[in-house]
Symmetry: C2
Subunit: 134 residues, 2 copies
DNA sequence: CTAAAGTGGACTTGTACGGTCGTATATTAT
DNA sequence: ATAATATACGACCGTACAAGTCCACTTTAG
């Protein structure tokens, strides 16, 4: 019915994996990729996005890798998703585009009721923090 | 972040349109397509699915069209979505496939926590009935 | 009989996603 | 210094799927 992207899946698995390690321990992308059998290159991209948005910190070079940048309790799942997907999208097109680009704007009837549903979904993702999925 | 398909969008708009009419009044697909500027053929397919799942009743032939099959209060939005999308999917792959086809099943760590999120989403869609979006 | 409606299969097309490759850059161990 | 090991990042490919289109058929009111 509604599906998270592979990237988000991988991101959640990865950041959870990192979170299970003792604080400050550095984990390589390769370790994660091997552990869960997910493509290394793709995972790397995801980890880079998580780095750019400040959820994890990266350490380049030999003996490098990734570590959590903040305590897991402070990271809601929704933040992880947004970090990976970038453009946050609404459940119906009208809601994420400006009114002017929506061809059926004047007659679109389902937008406002679905806002409630949208809010519920957002809440479902934002009330759960990383600490709960470790 | 998560998006309903166009078909579902059209389906919701359409069934809402039908629901606003006096009970028993018949509405043609063309009328709906014209009113909201959505492609007629595509809308037809959607309406056919809604018909097959018994949410609306169809009347063939001249002066035919569609009407609600049940009172709107009894129709949760989730039922409409399921009718149109057919295969109900989970937010992560592991959850909708059998365990044997999931390559990372034994090591997949995010499945069970996400079940909670999934349940929340389901609830968001199933607690809202058609009568609320009219 | 015919016009207006639904039914339904086949087809095209665009695009986003998952995945891959290659190269550059940074850091550390020796 | 240099080799080894890691991230960073852009370019590319292939496929699946969503969205949309086309067309032939059936049903029924008038």
């Amino acid at each position: 019915m509604i599906r998270l992207s592979k990237k988000v899946e991988y991101g959640l698995i990865a950041i959870r994996h990192i979170a299970t390690k003792p604080a400050g321990e550095i984990v390589t992308a390769k370790e994660i990729a091997d552990t869960y059998g997910i493509p290394y290159e793709l995972l790397s991209k995801v980890l880079q996005k998580l780095t750019k948005s400040g959820l994890i910190s990266s350490h380049q070079g030999m003996r490098g890798g990734y570590a959590l940048a903040r305590p897991p309790v402070e990271i809601p799942v929704s933040v992880i998703i947004n970090a990976i997907e970038g453009t946050r999208q609404a459940i119906v097109q009208c809601m994420s585009e400006g009114p002017q680009t929506c061809t059926v704007f004047t007659v679109c009837t389902i937008k406002s009721p679905l806002t409630k549903v949208q809010a519920n979904i957002e809440r479902a993702f934002s009330t759960m923090t990383l600490s709960e999925i470790v």
